[in-house]
Symmetry: D2
Subunit: 307 residues, 4 copies
């Protein structure tokens, strides 16, 4: 046979599981989108169609929902660890499991202000509004021995209305751009960071706290960097996280440069003193890069931040 099978995986993608936990009248919700990808001894199903090694994708879906009950959802990462361990340890032909999760955050609807004359605030602790500011991501991979956890976020849109310049660049025959000494810098942050937790022997990070802190450091670095290039801002965002969070060894970003072009108002006899901008869609600059703790091997794939 002149062709052979290479890397392959299968599973049920985008299982939308919502878990409600009741603490008396106070409800908590976790809202996840869970995708399962299994791989192992799967030659036969590709070559002949024999499903003897195939746990159905429908079963992987059922497992997601059953585990939401059996283990609860403490965090996306912890939930993914339960699932990955289960598939690899319970099915002989399955040698590796990769769980990808998106998490949607919800805030409580506050009704306790003075204008709310209808009911007491304690009665609405079951009401939520989706936050939508970013989508949190987690990817958990297990091969029976080692763990890899890569968390992150996407669609977090940020903007500095000043403290950004761009000049001193290479000019060739196709260069027409004018240098800028005060521009808007805006991007939709997509970031993935890898934890150095790889074994059940190690103490597990506090996934929830680590996420909040990584997100905070990223935002602060974006806000506080006087930027001469988006690459410089990227590196500051990454190194701030590596330096502040010992549990994180590597982080990768995709940062589209959401161009805000100063509108030429001179034809109308108006001066545009960095006040009126056109927010462009396409094309956009795209700045991508990895920041690493010195001495560690990079593992986050180049395109992971584009998923």
């Amino acid at each position: 046979m002149p062709t052979i099978l290479g890397q392959n995986q299968y599973g049920k993608a985008e299982n939308r599981v919502v878990r409600v936990t009741r603490d008396g009248d106070t409800h908590h919700i976790k809202d996840l989108n869970v995708s399962v990808a299994l791989s192992g001894e799967m030659e036969d199903v590709h070559y002949s169609g024999s499903n003897a090694h195939v746990l159905p994708t429908d079963t992987t879906k059922n497992t997601v929902f059953a585990f939401a009950k059996e283990h609860g959802i403490e965090s996306a990462e912890q939930f993914g660890i339960h699932l990955a361990r289960h598939f690899v340890t319970s099915q002989e032909p399955i040698k590796q499991a990769r769980i990808r999760i998106e998490e949607y955050a919800w805030d409580r609807i506050a009704t306790s202000d003075a204008n709310s004359r209808f009911i007491g605030s304690d009665e609405v602790n079951h009401s939520f509004v989706r936050r939508n500011q970013e989508i949190r991501t987690a990817q958990i991979t297990f091969d029976g021995e080692k763990w890899q956890v890569i968390s992150g976020l996407k669609d977090l849109t940020v903007l500095n209305s000043t403290n950004s310049e761009f000049w001193g660049y290479v000019k060739d025959k196709y260069t027409t751009l004018k240098e800028a000494y005060d521009r808007i810098l805006a991007t939709d942050v997509s970031a993935r960071w890898r934890y150095n937790w790889t074994s059940d022997e190690q103490r597990m990070p506090n996934w929830e706290k680590s996420y909040e802190q990584a997100r905070k450091h990223m935002l602060h670095a974006f806000a506080e960097t006087y930027s001469l290039s988006l690459q410089q801002t990227l590196y500051q965002m990454g190194s701030r996280i590596i330096n502040s969070r010992s549990e994180i060894d590597e982080i990768r970003f995709s940062l589209p440069n959401n161009h805000h072009f100063l509108v030429d108002l001179e034809p109308f006899g108006l001066k545009n003193d960095n006040e009126v901008y056109f927010a462009a869609d396409r094309p956009y600059g795209l700045i991508e890069g990895t920041v690493l703790r010195d001495g560690v091997e990079p593992q986050i794939p180049v395109d992971m931040t584009n998923l």
Copy 2:
């Protein structure tokens, strides 16, 4: 000629204007997506292609950006009023202008907490993160005499994890649904409300405050209504606004019923005590309706909340 021209309009859609205002070191931003639609004496351009009455859509785009400088953007509504008045009063053939605006809210990036040892908080008042919780909308129509302002929001996702029932409904030969006495009620609110301000003689509402209050009343009514049907919740949301805000006479909602189905875990020997749900995409129930101040004529079109 056996065919004639009916209603028609034209203009530049989706002008993405961002306006930065500097209050010393503190910057403010307004981020709008503005669509212009003009109508009037436009038979010739349709019948013969004569553009003698046509102000180019490119010019309407330029006007949006120029007005962001000339008038600033106090609110989406006020900005739309400036634009609509200009087109109708400055071009003889244009008899009506309709300005549609989407507004994207931004929050400041807070860096003043104790962990931010890098810079003082006053230095980052030019840094923003997009809120994304909902999209604010405004539609301003002017015919040279009367104003119509319809504001609203869309994509505001809310969820009650209890206090919702559904039973006592009609059963026919195609009915299989089981009655529910404790279900999740979730929806993506799309709402449009009409102001009773119609003339320059009247005192203009405070558009920003009115929006914040309408949004708040909607959320409170959603949270505080013990719901026997999504229609009941819709009516409560609408009447709360009409009763609380004298400047608003009419409101229309499109409320998809974002079904959260309780997963049957019995095959796995597990009890699902309203804990684990499957969040479905399609199909979804769609509940739409208008709530009016008694005695007023409805004006909001049936499909406006689906735009």
Copy 3:
């Protein structure tokens, strides 16, 4: 009670039904997305939450799937007529039904060419590839007496690489656009046309043939019109259909002007002789209009082509 209920409707939206019909080994498929909206005596469910008049949206979903079996799907329009008639005539409180349908076309995968040495062509008459060129739409409304059928299409993208000009327009102080004597004209056609079939007494149009013919006339008129404005092209497209199809009385279009800007290559010492264009996303001109058979009353709502 100072507030009252206005127009309201409810039902199950986006029921994705696929119907396979077997004609021996030759299979046929119809692929629809069906949305049901019912209205009638629905005050109670809004005011008090009583569902005594409410046929559940779940039941309307079941009915869609059951009718695909009971009646088959001859055409989107005919299928909608079956559904609308059923809801209005079988439930006393339901006074009007509106069925909206999107249809996705599929082509057969041709395998009969000489390179297909594997099997005979007759064996693959169950294999399809989705066409995707446009989405076909239909809306059927019934109030127990009169029918209204509005069919159409959307997302049909067309382009003329010449035979389009734009000049002779109004110039005001915000006008900077240069006149164009040879430009690209491109748009995504969204059209809705209304049939004059309104009663069971009348002979029903051949919905499938009428769609194909309306689509063809639209494309031909777009291709064959030497355009001085997109409005002129719109009118030609509409009047061609009205003049050619006696069963259609009214048609409305939304035609975004998909701008293709000639790129200025002079800075690079190159001449751009209408060869290289930048295809822009936003903003875009938006030209909307209705063409009517002389003497008929317009019924298609202004925003229907934006749904």
Copy 4:
């Protein structure tokens, strides 16, 4: 410094270039979306913000449009080769260029049928309708010595209404799926194939013909495979291409299993003899895999088919 820079790249993404070529009255169009990613000696711009090695993303955009004039667009692949070679050979610090291209196909609008009484068919050879059936993709990478060309397509939706089974799979405690002996098999094909052309010394493939043939073989294999699993179909599609096209050494697929669930019509007293299906959105099975010519090293990244 405890952190270091890892893999990084930058450039202008999503340049929408449309190229019109005139062959007398007959026009031809190429419609591309081109993304440039450059990498090389870029430490300084990340560490200090110095742009001394940075060719602006704006310049890479200009180059795309200028090259559309200078070189024309023979094929997406050939165009990408021109661009990649230019960036790597003209700028010392740039060591690698990766060009990603999406191509949108257009068909001519045929107006030559008997119903077209308006003009002769030769006058409309400048009129096009976008095909939309799939998006063609190409990725060209050059490091100054070796070329890598990975072409492909996405969003090609196909369906077999029979000749698909699924049974004989593993059953664990979470398995509830019933075996299927006649089911719909449907998927949105995303495929990427790698050419063994890697050097200017080799004869270059005919990119246009190779694409058409690869696409054809894929469709035929999908249609002609009696499928016991989607994995089997995937392997047949891949090996058919490798066996038929000597210029292609490797192909990777992502094939979502677009579930079509047979609707249970028994509650309504109806028998569903594989006639009426519910087309589900999420979750979906996701089958991914690489097929290789025996003896070659795989190079296509795992997630490339998910971009």
